[in-house]
Symmetry: C4
Subunit: 355 residues, 4 copies
């Protein structure tokens, strides 16, 4: 299921990282049902390749919201990369640049956004939480806009934080400077909340946040964490430019439907009104091929990038992205597809009994 280079990175990351950091990055919510199923669900589809198609050249070029990327494989937002390696998001950005990948930078980045943006050297997106301190949210978004973000990705599945039971005893403390590197200067002075509480996700946020962010940033806003067709439609109706099908790496509501099984319904509901991206458990080109065949326009990888970062810094990130991308090109050729547009649902057979 997992490409060898990703497995090697993961093993080296486990060996290299402090146990508590590894657990924090690796763990999922509850019984980790969704964490385990997220990857397995991609593997549960069977393929119906085409024969005798000209696949002399496989072209992965992908346009997303007007920007071109070298492939549909991008980087999912992941917080606190500074726990993993000092270069943190700057190294990730460097890996993204080398492979021409979309990078969705986290609100919980450990390095200043401007440095990250400079390292990407091309289009990137910014992931947003609606925080309790709305002034802080505004300040951070304005700064991301100024730093050149091309879109906002509003995470919608985290009104409260999922309980990761595995972490328990080994709970890590995110150091203040890491936590607040991008936040401190935007805290509302009059806010009664302590800095960390002010930066917490606001559980009262609603679909109205989409319009608020759009107006504030004049950027396209995608909503991340969408698993339901009706939510996809509601987000687009509320002004979203697209959605990201995701269960937050299995870290929020355990037993949620794996993204692989939710994707087709969301694509149908989006009905071409905006791009649908997906993350969660993609560990090979075959996984990515299934996602694209089901209708995703982009596929984001999360933990493989974290493990690549831990194992080899920017080199590891670039290697992880290249591995998925090259495998995707290879299996597309075997499936008779020379571009992502050649991938459609007739290529995939859903698992037995799925709905």
């Amino acid at each position: 299921m997992t490409l060898p280079v990703l497995t090697a990175h993961a093993e080296r990351a486990r060996a290299a990282l402090p146990a508590a950091v590894h657990e924090f990055m690796a763990s999922g919510a509850g019984d980790e049902v969704t964490l385990a199923e997220s990857a397995a669900a991609w593997s549960s589809f069977r393929l119906l390749p085409r024969v005798l198609r000209d696949v002399g050249v496989v072209d992965l070029t992908t346009e997303l919201l007007g920007d071109a990327f070298a492939s549909p494989v991008g980087i999912a937002p992941a917080g606190y990369a500074g726990l993993v390696r000092d270069e943190a998001e700057v190294a990730v950005a460097d890996g993204a640049r080398r492979s021409g990948s979309l990078y969705v930078v986290s609100t919980r980045a450990s390095r200043p956004l401007e440095e990250v943006a400079a390292a990407v050297g091309g289009p990137w997106w910014f992931q947003v939480y609606m925080m309790r301190d709305r002034g802080l949210t505004r300040g951070l978004v304005e700064r991301a806009v100024a730093a050149g973000a091309r879109a906002l990705v509003l995470t919608g599945d985290t009104p409260v934080v999922g309980i990761k039971r595995r972490v328990g005893a080994a709970r890590i403390d995110i150091p203040d400077d890491s936590f607040l590197v991008n936040l401190a200067r935007h805290l509302s002075p009059g806010d009664a909340l302590a800095p960390r509480a002010a930066a917490e996700q606001d559980p009262t946020a609603t679909l109205d946040a989409i319009g608020w962010l759009r107006e504030l940033s004049v950027l396209p806003v995608l909503v991340k964490g969408v698993l339901r067709p009706d939510d996809a439609a509601a987000c687009l109706d509320a002004g979203a430019a697209g959605v990201v099908v995701s269960n937050h790496g299995g870290r929020q509501l355990d037993r949620s439907l794996p993204a692989a099984l939710a994707l087709a319904g969301v694509v149908d509901a989006a009905a071409g009104r905006g791009p649908v991206l997906v993350d969660g458990g993609v560990r090979s080109g075959l996984d990515a091929l299934v996602a694209l065949a089901l209708g995703a326009q982009g596929v984001l990888v999360g933990r493989p990038v974290v493990w690549g970062l831990a194992a080899d810094g920017a080199d590891g990130v670039a290697a992880a992205l290249a591995a998925v991308r090259d495998d995707l090109a290879h299996v597309m050729a075997l499936a008779g597809a020379s571009t992502p547009a050649d991938l459609d649902r007739s290529l995939v057979v859903p698992p037995p009994g799925s709905r």
Copy 2:
């Protein structure tokens, strides 16, 4: 699947209780297929949470037959709590009071009903068997009414007692005083049956018992053990105020359909004519969320309360109920629901191939 505090209670109960008592409480009928599947079935549903809903306040307040409870999580009837701990049902009642939970007191209670009722200090329901000695049944029901029971729960799935093979050699003897504490004084003097035989369930009882109990008690009567849509309708037609979907903790007919899989059909057949509650294998807030999303108005837990009682008395009962309730509130927030009314079937995906 099971919340950590419940697992801890269960382990401590196993260590603390005499083996025969533990087996008696833990075991199921036949090959324990239904016992095992009861819990697993809740976990087999997948969830489709909503994003960007205001879940700043999650309110679990639940009204059942005109009484308000702090949450939809209540206590299923379980006989012979005196085997587990001397305070028995009085301690359970205390736990129910502390957590504002519905408590369905068993006909086989080991402590006088009046003491139990006093410890609850609020609304409670009384579980009834139609016993061979109909006068005994009548006397006991009248006493429950006098003690303040707000509804009767007629157990319909126990015309004879299921065979628990696991118990076999270690068969326990229920001491007479425990068995008869609430029954002795109501035995019909002229009855030819020995006291225990007189108190056995009457296998000839029919749906007519519903009307008989209703007339006798002037209380709402719910039927417990209903798995079939047509039975739900027949019970309501016969005057029942509601039903409890249950397979008696896997202790009666082995291989019965788990309550989780029977629930939706019963809810549909009840068609709002009365509340549908459910028990069997609920071990977490996620399990309870599935039950509520499928249409249950209340969710009862059985063995977790017994193990909590064994481990820590009233504290253990209150802790067990609080654990399920708090987990429910947490996962409701993650699912975008601020009240039980926000939970509907669109939130759950039944297991592959289920009918």
Copy 3:
């Protein structure tokens, strides 16, 4: 899945019998997929019991082709019981008599039919193979008629003998006297075939055999081994009085559909034109309940009788039959059924994904 007394018999039989005999009796064809699935398939159904039905008396009396039996649980034909115990079919017949069960005596019986018939002391059926020596077949059938058989059961699934790979090295030799005890005197004198070859099943036999046997015996003829709806109809059209759904104890075509999964289709195709019985893997009253609920009028057990015979002779046979019968009565009460007629398909939920 298997009742404790049956398990105990099976273990004692394994210890008591020569290994080659045990293998011969226990083994199935090919990879023993059908052997294993035959029992498991009954367990794969889930039950929807009825509540509050009068089950004060459970009456198992069963009428089959005009004769009354104490229960619907009968004895499937099994060859060469003499390998297991000297009393052989006479002891089995004694067990059948004691429990009032239908006994289908095998063409390959090791004891003279007349002795077996005397031991039954009531109605019994005779299992027939169309043998290569048609005169031998005729002679044997006429003798069974004379001995009082009330019906013939023509085995239709054995045109050639399935290959039991497990037996291999330990292949047993059926002693001539055992093999031919009922056959020798009927061998056609002018037949070029050696006695054993003459007694082999004739692979050219067709549905015409039904009419031939009926005319010859003036008895009702049932066809055993039917798994297909169209075959059931064809047999009845050809004059059969009923069918027995069976895969020959998993000893013929491996990977055939288990009887439990084939039964409903055959019952529908038979459309009440004659009784449908079933055998294969029934090891408990729950299994029998499923069979009856799916529409079988009788349920035959094979190996449990062989193991009972091996363990305790007639006592073991009677105990095995009583165990299944008593368990059936018990679970019928739990399911709210007081007679087999109360069992219908609404009581069973087929396994997920079955067709």
Copy 4:
């Protein structure tokens, strides 16, 4: 699942062959999901045999494209048999001759085609790759025609070569003389490519290759590797005489649908316009029976022939083919079928939940 003689051959082959050669022959692409499922999928069908049919003679004679073969069981193309045994394809051909089986000789044969053809002594087919050097392809095809090939089988599922991760370290080098034995003399003199590159499959080949080969050879052209109904129709529209449902022994696109599950759709799409053959994981007569019942006219076996060759040369090949053929005849009798034409879809029940 696998016939004992095939298992024995496989074990002896593993012991006899250099590890790298064994890995090369045994391995599949990616995670070997398709490799494992190819065999398992045949076993996942259940059978509905017919009773009381005349199966005194089972006749396996099979006509394919005008030529008669002794059975529908033939030999799939497999490259580089010279790695396994010096006699290589000549021994395989001898085995084919002895059993009257169709042999599809590989483009990557290690022995001169003329010798192979002579050893077959009857009709055979030639497997073709469209190679980068089109002149080489033309020369080789013309030579196969001259050597008496009766049909061409164009492999369509190998535009690039699947990645066999298991081989990795133990990668074998195919010796030049083995690789090029049939190719060297046909290399285009002016081609800029090195010999091996010239002989690589051309990833730009399309359905037009069918017409090109047909015109060139004046032979019927079948396309191998077809899993999709629409591809089957497209191939036939482009002039193909038939198709071979195959996933290349699990060596190309991992997670492709097993041939057993793709077969029925392709048969329906072919609609009788040409024969449909199938390979992949057939290891017994039962597997072959399922294939024929689903509509295949021929069934090819690959690795069992390779292991038979490794274990015993031509004797092993003949024994492997005889084992499958004899088992097929046996289970056909048990299923009530005396010729392949008696096998239809009503004999098979697809696995639960399959589409």
